[in-house]
């Protein structure tokens, strides 16, 4: 408990009778890079706004270093936000924008000047002091928004899809820049995105959300390799999600074929969800794998080929560096430890979650 910087305790929030967050519990450690990941409208921004103090939860508490700050107004909180749409002040120059928070804290002129210089250097925009915000490109404005937030040396930086409006190349550049920044200034990042790749690249911890519920919290590796339910598996990367029956420990039946796996403890003949990543499906000669199929499509993706293989009535998604022609007969094989077994959702809520996918 002691190393928690922020605790969200039983946070619920509705707008106009519509429940947006349902008894959410989450903690964030000091110096952690936490990403809230989920589809549009799942409540990521709302969560961030509650932490930032722009929204009051209907129930529950926000703790900062163990102290209750639920009722503390935004301007008294020791955190700064990079907003989903930059929100630079259009009538102020870049330097004045960056100095805004420091002037309020009555820092000396020299201090402010040094800080402006330092922060512009940090975001690679030296010499932009006297420009107006709308004369900058989207990516540059975004970096100014980040500079404006970090000069205040907040304990926590909240970032709401800061790279959402940028093109792919710039987004990747900015991802590296953000990671570098985080290592350089050592503050806690709470980052919102609906881009799973971005989340996997940058985070220490990923919080997968859907419809106001937390689906899974874990490291990028855990989220990717051991998704706890079908929603997470589907949302993080491409996967093959199949209905299966757990015959006994370490043996599962998929599409009428029994395959060895490593999971145990589900009981006998229990219906389960099975997740197999496309890169874990190996293509062999016909008859050499667990089941046979026919290649129905091939797309070249740069590093690998992405193929669809029809086998036992299921369209398998397969990634491989070896190409097989459309129409080729192949066998499919999966290593036991690459078969991920998950319980079927039980509660009504989780079912609702599934339907939305």
């Amino acid at each position: 408990m002691s190393d928690h910087l922020i605790d969200l305790v039983d946070i619920s929030k509705s707008f106009d009778g519509q429940l947006v967050l349902d008894e959410m519990n989450l903690y964030i450690r000091e110096n952690e890079f936490v990403t809230l990941l989920g589809p549009s409208g799942c409540g990521k921004t709302t969560t961030l706004r509650i932490i930032g103090g722009f929204e009051t939860p209907d129930t529950g508490k926000v703790l900062f270093n163990g102290a209750d700050i639920t009722g503390l107004p935004a301007y008294k909180r020791q955190l700064n936000t990079v907003f989903q749409r930059y929100a630079l002040f259009p009538h102020l120059t870049i330097a004045e924008n960056i100095a805004f928070g420091l002037k309020i804290k009555k820092k000396s002129r020299d201090y402010i000047r040094d800080k402006i210089k330092y922060s512009l250097k940090l975001v690679n925009l030296e010499g932009y002091e006297d420009r107006m915000p709308d004369s900058l490109s989207g990516g540059q404005q975004q970096r100014i928004a980040i500079a404006r937030a970090i000069v205040n040396e907040p304990k926590v930086l909240l970032l709401d899809e800061p790279l959402g409006a940028l093109d792919l190349k710039l987004r990747q550049e900015m991802q590296y820049e953000l990671i570098r920044l985080k290592n350089e200034i050592g503050i806690t990042f709470i980052y919102v995105t609906h881009d799973q790749e971005e989340a996997l690249t940058m985070s220490d911890t990923i919080v997968v959300m859907n419809q106001g519920y937390i689906q899974q919290i874990g490291t990028p590796e855990a989220i990717y390799n051991e998704p706890e339910n079908a929603f997470v598996a589907d949302f993080i990367g491409d996967s093959n999600i199949l209905d299966g029956i757990m015959i006994q420990d370490r043996l599962v039946e998929i599409l009428g074929t029994r395959m060895a796996c490593v999971d145990a403890g589900f009981g006998l003949n229990k219906p389960v969800d099975v997740v197999i990543r496309p890169e874990d499906v190996e293509l062999t000669g016909p008859g050499e794998g667990a089941m046979d199929g026919v290649v129905t499509s091939v797309i070249f993706k740069g590093v690998h080929y992405e193929m669809e293989v029809e086998a036992n009535g299921f369209e398998w998604l397969v990634q491989s560096t070896h190409m097989h022609e459309v129409g080729a007969h192949v066998g499919l094989r999966v290593e036991p430890d690459n078969i991920q077994i998950m319980n079927k959702p039980e509660s009504e809520d989780e079912k609702a979650v599934e339907l939305d996918v």
Partner: protein
């Protein structure tokens, strides 16, 4: 043919609108007192205005009343807008509708009811009651010109200011105010010209001995034809004209400036 006709039509409309004013302006420069004979160009009626203490008082009253009432109305109007913004959707609609009633109300009704109110509460009519009356009818104009600006101003910059440690009041002055400034300026100018322009409400709420330019003209003209009143009317007309021009072009010029800066 059709085009020529529409041009002639337009000309006629403008003639009807402006000929009387042009005649009055011309007569204000007539050396003779006669309305029929042009006796040469002269500024003597204007000089007469300058010499009359009561007229100069009226001019001074007009300006101070306009200034005080429009400044007060601007402050009240902006505050009202902030309040309205915080209301629910329905509250907003109702309040804006109520706000429009005084604008549509006949001046004479507004004037009469204000006078009755003053008398009812035993407030003696004079300079102060005119100022209050003018504030009353100016506030809706300010609300009307500030409200659209405030609606369009982005909530996110206001929140960003608070995020950076500004109290709500400070965030308003630092971020929201510059954004809605064109609306505030045009609201102020509109109030100012409405106040200078007003006759009926002023007439009902003024006490004996206090005059503005318009009530002065009215009382003087009732006594007999005085060309110096043409001069005073001309001044009033030019003043309101200039103010309206500023009101219409100042905000437009400002936003053009802004967009230029963007490029």
């Amino acid at each position: 043919m059709k085009k020529a006709f529409s041009k002639v039509y337009l000309l006629l409309v403008f003639l009807f609108l402006y000929v009387p004013i042009v005649i009055m302006m011309a007569l204000s420069f007539n050396a003779s007192k006669s309305r029929a004979v042009w006796a040469g160009f002269s500024t003597k009626w204007y000089e007469e205005l300058w010499r009359s203490a009561s007229i100069m008082d009226a001019v001074k009253n007009t300006f101070t009343i306009a200034l005080i009432s429009s400044a007060a109305a601007t402050v009240l109007g902006v505050l009202a807008c902030i309040g309205i913004m915080a209301m629910s959707r329905r509250g907003k609609t109702v309040t804006m509708a109520v706000n429009n009633i005084p604008l549509l109300n006949a001046d004479i009704v507004t004037g009469l009811s204000l006078m009755l109110t003053y008398v009812f509460f035993g407030i003696s009519l004079g300079y102060g009651t005119i100022v209050f009356a003018h504030i009353t009818f100016n506030v809706p104009y300010v609300i009307l010109s500030v409200m659209p600006r405030l609606k369009n101003s982005s909530r996110s910059t206001y929140e960003a200011a608070m995020d950076l440690g500004a109290s709500p009041v400070r965030a308003f002055f630092a971020v929201v105010m510059p954004e809605i400034m064109p609306g505030i300026v045009s609201g102020f100018l509109l109030s100012f010209s409405m106040s200078i322009d007003d006759f009926i409400i002023t007439y009902f709420t003024k006490g004996a001995g206090v005059n503005t330019i318009s009530t002065m003209i009215y009382t003087q003209v009732r006594r007999g034809i005085v060309p110096s009143m043409y001069a005073l009317s001309t001044i009033l007309f030019v003043l309101v004209m200039v103010l309206l021009l500023i009101t219409n072009f100042a905000p437009a010029a400002k936003s053009r400036d802004d967009s230029k800066k963007g490029k």
